[in-house]
Amino acid sequence: MRKTLALLFLTVAFWMASALAPALAVDLKDMLYDPGQLKPVDSSLKVRPGSPAPDFALPSTTGQTVRLSDFRGQKNVVLSFVPAAFTPVCSDQWPGYNATRALFEQREAIILGITTDNVPSLYAWIVEMRGLWFPVLSDFWPHGAVAKKYGVLRTSGTTERAIVIIDKKGVVRFAKSFDINRRPDLGLIMGELDKLK
C-alpha cells in the first residue's frame, strides 16, 4: 500500500511540475488582470466633430502637468482613453502606438494617453511596457473629471476605449468610444488624421 501511495504521489508531483511550470515564467502578460468581456460602451459622448475640445490639465507620469491647449497651433492631438492599467487589451494597444510612432509624427500628431488610474500605477505599468514615446496622463482626481467632460467615463469609474482627434485649432475632428473589448483599428485612426492635412 505504501509503495502504491509513494508511486501515486510521485506521479502527482511530476504531473504538477510539467503542467504548471510554464505558468511560472514571469512576463507582462502574466501580470495582467483580465476583467473578461465587458459591456462594449457604457457612456455617451459629450463632444462632437466641429465643436471646441474642452481644455484640461492633468498630471503625467513624468511629474509634469500637461495642458491640452499647449498643443494648439503646434500639433494635432489624439486623445487615447483606455480603461485601466495592467489589463490585456490596453497593454498592447499603446505598445502598438510605440511601434508606429513615425505614422503619427508624419501626420504631425501627438498622442495623449489617459486613464483614471493614479500616477504611481501608471508609472509602474509604463515601465513594464518598456516605456512609451507619448505622455500618459492620470485622470484620477477629481476622479474621471476629464473623462466625464468628454463623455467617456463608464459607470464603473474607468474610461471607455475612446479616440478623440483634435486639430491644431483645438477643434474636435473625430470622437468615438469603441468596443472596450477590442483595439480600435489603426487604419481608421490614420485615415482620420489624413483628413486633417
Partner: protein, 186 residues
C-alpha cells in the same frame, strides 16, 4: 485511503483536458481557411493561383508549413520581426525552402495593421490578417508570438502538428536548425 487515492486520480483526469487545450506535437488541427487575398508575390511563393481571395492552408504547395501567430501590437513580435525575416532569408537560400514554407497570421490585426507591420520591419514572408481572432482560437492558443509547424495529413483530416513554440526564439541559426529538424524535410 483508497478513496482518497481514487479521488485524486479522478481530479487529475478531470483537470488534465483543461490544461491540454493548447496544441501539442501529434495533434491534428482543422484545415483552416485564411480569409485574405495574397499579394501576387505571396501567391507565387505559396503556389496559389492568381486572383485567390481566400484559401485553405492545405492548398499551399508545400510539404510542411511554419505558421507564426503574431500581432502588430505585441512587443515581443515587434522585437522578433527582423530576426525572423533573417531566418526566412536563410531558409530561402536552402533547397528545403521548396518544401517548407513560412507564413504569418496577425491575430486581431486588420489588413492595415498587417501591412503596417510588414512595412515597418520589412518582412519578406507572406502575412495575413485574422481580425476576429478566428484562426488564433482555432489553433488553440492565446499568446503571440507562437510558432506552429504543420503537415497536411495524407487522408485530408487536417494538419498534423510537428512543432510548437510559444514565445520568442533565442538564436536565429539555432531556430533555423530546430525547424529544419522538426520538419523532416531533406
Amino acid at each position: 485511503m483508497k478513496r482518497f487515492a481514487a479521488s485524486l486520480l479522478a481530479l487529475l483526469l478531470f483537470c488534465t483536458p483543461a490544461l491540454a487545450k493548447k496544441p501539442k506535437v501529434g495533434d491534428v488541427l482543422p484545415d483552416l481557411t485564411i480569409k485574405a487575398a495574397p499579394k501576387p508575390a505571396e501567391a507565387a511563393y505559396l503556389g496559389l493561383p492568381d486572383g485567390t481571395q481566400s484559401f485553405r492552408l492545405s492548398q499551399i504547395k508545400a510539404e510542411v508549413l511554419l505558421v507564426e501567430l503574431f500581432s502588430m501590437y505585441c512587443p515581443h513580435c515587434q522585437a522578433e520581426a527582423k530576426p525572423l525575416g533573417r531566418v526566412f532569408e536563410r531558409l530561402m537560400a536552402l533547397p528545403q525552402s521548396k518544401a517548407l514554407k513560412f507564413l504569418g497570421i496577425g491575430a486581431g490585426n486588420s489588413a492595415y495593421e498587417v501591412d503596417t507591420f510588414r512595412l515597418l520591419y520589412e518582412i519578406p514572408m507572406p502575412l495575413f490578417q485574422d481580425g476576429d481572432y478566428e484562426l488564433l482560437k482555432a489553433f488553440g492558443t492565446t499568446s503571440t508570438p507562437t510558432y506552429l509547424m504543420l503537415r497536411p495529413t495524407a487522408d485530408g483530416r487536417g494538419l498534423k502538428v510537428l512543432f510548437v513554440q510559444e514565445g520568442r526564439f533565442e538564436d536565429e541559426q539555432t531556430f533555423l536548425e530546430l525547424i529544419l529538424r522538426a520538419s523532416g524535410v531533406q
